[in-house]
Structure formats: structure tokens, C-alpha cells
């Protein structure tokens, strides 16, 4: 197992570096790999430096943060609900964050991305967290009945997800066509318009909660064994579940506040990681984070370039890859 973990980490790292370089070089102005590396060491031309440092790199960094957050949230939710198909995008948590941000952005203005003021920008993650917490609380509250059964939690989440999405659509359909398309891009999950501001906005909080979750990794392992055994081993199941659920919600909200509602990413990474390094969270979470980052960077590069100059939301690209995998997982059982 040790050896396997080692090899996996090496392979994931190499893939990560490769996709990183690819994303930095591929675009409507393409830069060769060599030039990308040169630019990183401060030697590129002005055009290359601007392209990479001001446009592509912030976008890649935001993608990485989003990938890590969603993947970790997925890992936690899968253990907490003891359902290996749980994922923040599908049980309504991302949707809760999304609705809060849509309301915030459109509040008092008729235009969306171009004129978001700095104040609104700083309130955005907070609004997302509040929205996600509200929907998370709603899901938890509605599925609470002498304790929360994992199945009920998931089913309630699916219901809440449908409801919130209906609400967003209702709101969206009253918009003009241009605004509609922008909000659509965002609600399907996209990294369009990412800047360093977005990165610095979410990273500090994300790191705090990632560390908290890593610290609880052992408890997650125990919770996988089932409520009875976990209780027997001295874990206060209901309380820990609530705490971990909270951490996962915050991470999902942070990701959603900058990238919109990206579904399936929290499913793909953790699953592949589990198959590669086993269900021990101390190893699974970092590997899953790496894999998810690779997936989202790739998806984003494709969605930027495949139909250029039209950009397709990255979240949709991930869904198109994610669903067949998901269905394969279900049929395999």
C-alpha cells in the first residue's frame, strides 16, 4: 500500500504540472511550454507576461482552489451521509450558495459581471456561505427525525436542490437575454472573469477549513464504519456529523462564490482517489484534491477553447464527463 500511495502521488503530481502548463499555454494567444516556463522566471515578453500573470494564472489558481474545496467537501459528505454518491452540487448546497450570490449581484443593478463593485465582491463569499448554510440547515432540519438517516438526508437534498433551481429559473427568466446568458454561465459553473481578487478572497478561509477537516480525518474514517460502531468507538456521531457537515458546506460555498454551481466535481475526485489509495481519509483527501484540480483545469481549458470565441461553462463540461462515470459507478454495483 505504501508503495502504491507513493506512485499515485507522483503520477498525480506529474499530471497536475502538465495540465497547469497546458492551461497556461493554450488559448486564443498560444504560448509554447518553453516560453511559459521562461515567463514564470520573469523572462518573457511583455505580452506573454501580461497574458500569463494577469489573465491565465489567476484563473488557474482559482480553479485549483475550487477543485480542492469541492473535492474535500465531497469526501466529507460521502462519509457523513455514508452514501458514496453524495456530492455538494446534487444535494442543494451549491444551489443555496448560488441563489444567494445571484440575488446579491442583481440587487439594485441591472448589469451583472461588468460592474460588480469591490464591496459587492467582498460580500460575495459571505453571501454564498450564508446561502449554503441556510440550505444546508434546511436539508438537515427537514431530514431530522430522531436523528438524521443518511438516505433521508440525500433525498431531502435532492428535493431542496430542485426547489432552489426552480426559484433561480423563475428569477432568471425575467431578465434580458444578455443578462440571462451571463447568469446561466455562472449558475452552471464557470471560471469566466476570475482575477487575483477572487483568489485572495476565498483562499484564506478555505485553508482554515481544509486544515480543520484534515484534523478530523480519523473521525471521518470511523464514521465510515457505521453509526453503531462509531458510537462504540467513542465518537459522538450526531455532533461530529453536524460539525463536519458544516465544514463541508463552508468549503462548497467558498467554491461556489467564485465559480458558480459546479456539480459532479465533488464526486469524481474522491472516487478515483478512493480506488487508488483506499478509503483512509488522510490519504484520500489530498489525492482527491489533486485529481479534482487536474479535472477542473482541463475542463476549463477545453471550455475556453473548444468553441472559441464562445465560452461554454466549465461546469457543463464536468457534468458531461462526470455523469457517464457516475452511471458506470452505479451499474458496477
Amino acid at each position: 500500500m505504501k508503495k502504491r500511495v507513493f506512485i499515485t502521488s507522483i503520477v498525480v503530481s506529474i499530471l497536475f504540472v502538465f495540465t497547469f502548463l497546458l492551461a497556461a499555454s493554450w488559448g486564443s494567444y498560444s504560448i509554447s511550454f518553453g516560453d511559459v516556463i521562461k515567463t514564470f522566471f520573469g523572462q518573457g515578453s511583455l505580452l506573454q507576461r501580461t497574458t500569463i500573470w494577469d489573465i491565465r494564472l489567476p484563473r488557474i489558481c482559482v480553479a485549483i482552489v475550487v477543485g480542492v474545496c469541492l473535492s474535500t467537501a465531497g469526501c466529507v459528505l460521502q462519509s457523513v451521509t455514508r452514501n458514496e454518491l453524495a456530492e455538494p452540487g446534487m444535494i442543494g448546497i451549491n444551489a443555496g450558495a448560488a441563489v444567494a450570490v445571484v440575488l446579491l449581484i442583481s440587487y439594485g443593478s441591472t448589469s451583472y459581471y461588468d460592474t460588480i463593485g469591490d464591496v459587492a465582491l467582498f460580500v460575495m463569499p459571505i453571501a454564498a456561505i450564508i446561502g449554503a448554510l441556510l440550505s444546508g440547515f434546511l436539508i438537515y432540519f427537514l431530514s431530522y427525525k430522531k436523528g438524521v438517516s443518511p438516505t433521508r438526508l440525500i433525498l431531502t437534498g435532492i428535493g431542496v436542490n430542485v426547489g432552489i433551481n426552480a426559484f433561480i429559473s423563475l428569477y432568471q427568466l425575467n431578465m434580458s437575454k444578455g443578462d440571462y446568458n451571463q447568469v446561466l454561465t455562472w449558475t452552471s459553473g464557470s471560471l469566466w472573469g476570475s482575477s487575483w481578487k477572487f483568489f485572495w478572497l476565498v483562499t484564506p478561509l478555505a485553508v482554515v477549513f481544509l486544515l480543520l477537516i484534515m484534523w478530523k480525518a480519523k473521525i471521518l474514517d470511523v464514521m465510515d464504519l457505521g453509526d453503531e460502531i462509531a458510537t462504540g468507538l467513542g465518537v459522538k456521531v450526531e455532533r461530529e456529523r453536524r460539525k463536519l457537515f458544516f465544514y463541508a458546506i463552508v468549503l462548497a460555498a467558498l467554491a461556489t462564490s467564485v465559480a458558480g454551481n459546479i456539480a459532479f466535481l465533488g464526486l469524481l475526485g474522491p472516487h478515483i482517489a478512493k480506488r487508488l489509495v483506499g478509503p483512509v481519509h488522510r490519504r484520500q483527501i489530498p489525492v482527491a484534491a489533486g485529481i479534482s484540480s487536474v479535472i477542473i483545469i482541463l475542463a476549463d481549458s477545453i471550455s475556453r477553447n473548444a468553441f472559441s470565441p464562445i465560452e461554454v461553462p466549465a461546469g457543463i463540461m464536468i457534468a458531461i464527463v462526470g455523469v457517464p462515470y457516475f452511471i458506470y459507478l452505479m451499474l458496477r454495483e
Binding site: N83, L85, M90, L142, S143, K145, S149, T151, R152, I154, L155, T156, I158, G159, V160, N161, V162, G163, A166, F167, S169, L170, Q172, L173, K177, Y180, N181, L184, T185, S188, A263, F264, F307, I310, V312, P313, G315, I316, A319, I320, G322, V323, P324, F326, I327, M330, L331
Partner: protein, 327 residues
């Protein structure tokens, strides 16, 4: 037939008929009942009467038929999968039809009602077969959350594909209206279509009711009674496909009707599908007639998409059902 059933059916019928009348006379332009009556029996060529004949009447007939068909599809699906929360729009069948319509709409060549119906049919067939694969596989040990997650995943997938197509052809808002459902574009042709395709399939479905009863008793009992559960399940799901397809082609995606209606009917009238299915038709029709009236009146003169309306009402009920099911 017991007293409860008679009471329920008669109440439903009265509400449905009132709904029909209200739907024809109320709206962005309200038309007095006298004129409504005259435009049916003493037709003159004036605006109000044209409105009644060419817009309001076909629309209300369509709402009733689509509502009824959705109610029956829900009942059929719940009966054969023995899953109290199965429904075509939660399982991704409707969304498959929507994707196919988006593709047809993008390529322009086969646009129009017939094109849409054919497209919807192909889409529903494809997604229906996928659902069939799941439910056959899990038939013995049906796991609700799995089936529903699979349905959610499939819907996301189909809608994602449709969104890409719509974004690239600059039709995303049109698609969104389609996804949210509505009876804006209904004409007499839509009525004919629903009546012929949906009507035939519904009648066949009603004759299937005794078999659905048997499957609903459980796999083992069903085999013991000399019926092949897999065959019945397959036939029923195949029968669902044209029914779903016409509904989507005419009215877009109207969620939760197929979930709520049979559930309430079952609560009131018991487990007999020979009873549940026709009453579901009646009850579904009633609900959708009134939902459409509300959708038109809430934000006059604009229409609220009816599918969003039914979702916002359906979700709380859905969650309440999950709590009741005790999982």
C-alpha cells in the same frame, strides 16, 4: 366503489369543470361568460370570440389532457417500480426529451410541432431505456436513493448538453422557457396530437392496470401468480415513453405532477391500480388546469412558467413524503 371514492371523484369533477370555465374566461383579457357561450354556439368573427376559439379552448383542453397523462404516467411508474417517489421528470425521461428537442431546434430543418414530437420521442426513448436498465438491475433490491440519484444525474447530463447547444445557437433563454414548461404555444394541432398519441397510450395503460396491480405485490408474488414481472415492467415503461414525449413536445417539462397526484390518490383510495390510474387522470387534469390558470394570472399580463410553479409546490410535498416514508 366506496363512498370515499365517489365523493373524491365528484369533487374533483366539479373543481375541474369550474377550472375549465375560469380558464376560458379569465386571463390577460377577461372575457364575459356570455361571450364564451356565444363563441361556441353562435360564432361571430370578432376578437373575443376568435380568442376563445383559437387560443383559450385548445389551451384548456391541452392542459387537461397533459395533466391527466402526467398523473397516469406517475401512477404507472410508481406501480411497476414499487417506488413511491418515482416520476418521469425526476428520473430524467422528460429531460432526455428536452435535449432531443434542443438538438432539433438547433438544426432548424425539422422544426415545428411534428418535428418536436419526433425528437421528444427519440429523446424519451433513449433516456427511458437507460432508466429501464437501472430499474431492472435494481429490481430485486430496490434502493430508492440510488435510483433517484441516478435520475438526478441523468437530468443534469441532458440539460447540460441542451444548454451547450442552446448557448452555441444563442437560444438559451428559449430553451429555458421550454425546460420550465408552459402552454404558450398550444394550437388545435397540439390538441389533436395529444389526443391521438397520448389518448391511445393512456387507454392501453388503463387496460394494463390489473397487471400493474400484480407487479405491485412484489416480485415473488407476481411470479407465483404466473406473471412475468420483468416483462410487465418493461412493457409499462415502454408505454410511458410516447406519453411523456407528447407531454414534453406540447408543454415542456412539468415536474412533480406525476409524483403528487398518484400519491394523494393512493392515500385516499387504497392500492388498487384499476382505481388509482383513472382517478389520477382526473385529479392530474384538475391540478394542471388550475396551475395553468394561476400561472397566467399571478403576474399578468406575463406568464409564469407552469413547470416552475409545480416544482415550487411539489418540492415541499416531496420532502414531506420522504419524512413519512421513514427511510
Amino acid at each position: 366503489m366506496n363512498k370515499k371514492a365517489v365523493a373524491f371523484i365528484s369533487t374533483c369533477s366539479i373543481i375541474a369543470i369550474t377550472g375549465l370555465v375560469v380558464a376560458i374566461s379569465a386571463g390577460a383579457k377577461s372575457i364575459p361568460l356570455q361571450t364564451v357561450w356565444n363563441s361556441i354556439f353562435h360564432y361571430e368573427d370578432i376578437l373575443d370570440m376568435q380568442l376563445v376559439r383559437d387560443v383559450r379552448i385548445p389551451r384548456v383542453i391541452c392542459t387537461a389532457l397533459v395533466g391527466g397523462i402526467l398523473g397516469v404516467t406517475g401512477a404507472m411508474m410508481q406501480g411497476v417500480t414499487r417506488n413511491p417517489i418515482a416520476e418521469p421528470s425526476l428520473m430524467g425521461i422528460t429531460q432526455g426529451a428536452t435535449l432531443a428537442i434542443a438538438i432539433a431546434g438547433a438544426s432548424q430543418s425539422i422544426y415545428g410541432l411534428l418535428g418536436n414530437t419526433v425528437a421528444a420521442f427519440i429523446g424519451a426513448l433513449f433516456s427511458g431505456l437507460l432508466v429501464l436498465a437501472f430499474s431492472l438491475k435494481n429490481a430485486r433490491n430496490m434502493n430508492l436513493s440510488r435510483l433517484l440519484l441516478a435520475g438526478t444525474a441523468l437530468s443534469t447530463f441532458f440539460i447540460s448538453m441542451a444548454t451547450i447547444i442552446a448557448l452555441l445557437t444563442n437560444k438559451s433563454q428559449n430553451l429555458a422557457f421550454w425546460v420550465s414548461g408552459g402552454f404558450r404555444a398550444v394550437t388545435w394541432n397540439s390538441v389533436k396530437l395529444v389526443l391521438v398519441v397520448g389518448g391511445i397510450a393512456t387507454i392501453i395503460a388503463l387496460f394494463m392496470a390489473p397487471k400493474i396491480n400484480v407487479v405491485n405485490l412484489g416480485e415473488d408474488v407476481c411470479i407465483g401468480l404466473g406473471e412475468n414481472p420483468v416483462k410487465i415492467r418493461m412493457f409499462t415503461l415502454l408505454l410511458l415513453i410516447p406519453m411523456c414525449a407528447v407531454c414534453v413536445a406540447v408543454a415542456g417539462n412539468i415536474a412533480f405532477i406525476g409524483l403528487i397526484v398518484p400519491h394523494i390518490v393512493r392515500k385516499l383510495l387504497g392500492q388498487d391500480y384499476r382505481m388509482i390510474m383513472p382517478v389520477s387522470f382526473l385529479f392530474g387534469a384538475t391540478l394542471v388546469i388550475w396551475a395553468d390558470v394561476l400561472a397566467r394570472l399571478v403576474n399578468q399580463p406575463y406568464e409564469t412558467p407552469i413547470g416552475l410553479f409545480t416544482s415550487l409546490v411539489g418540492v415541499p410535498l416531496f420532502i414531506w413524503m420522504i419524512r413519512k416514508e421513514n427511510m
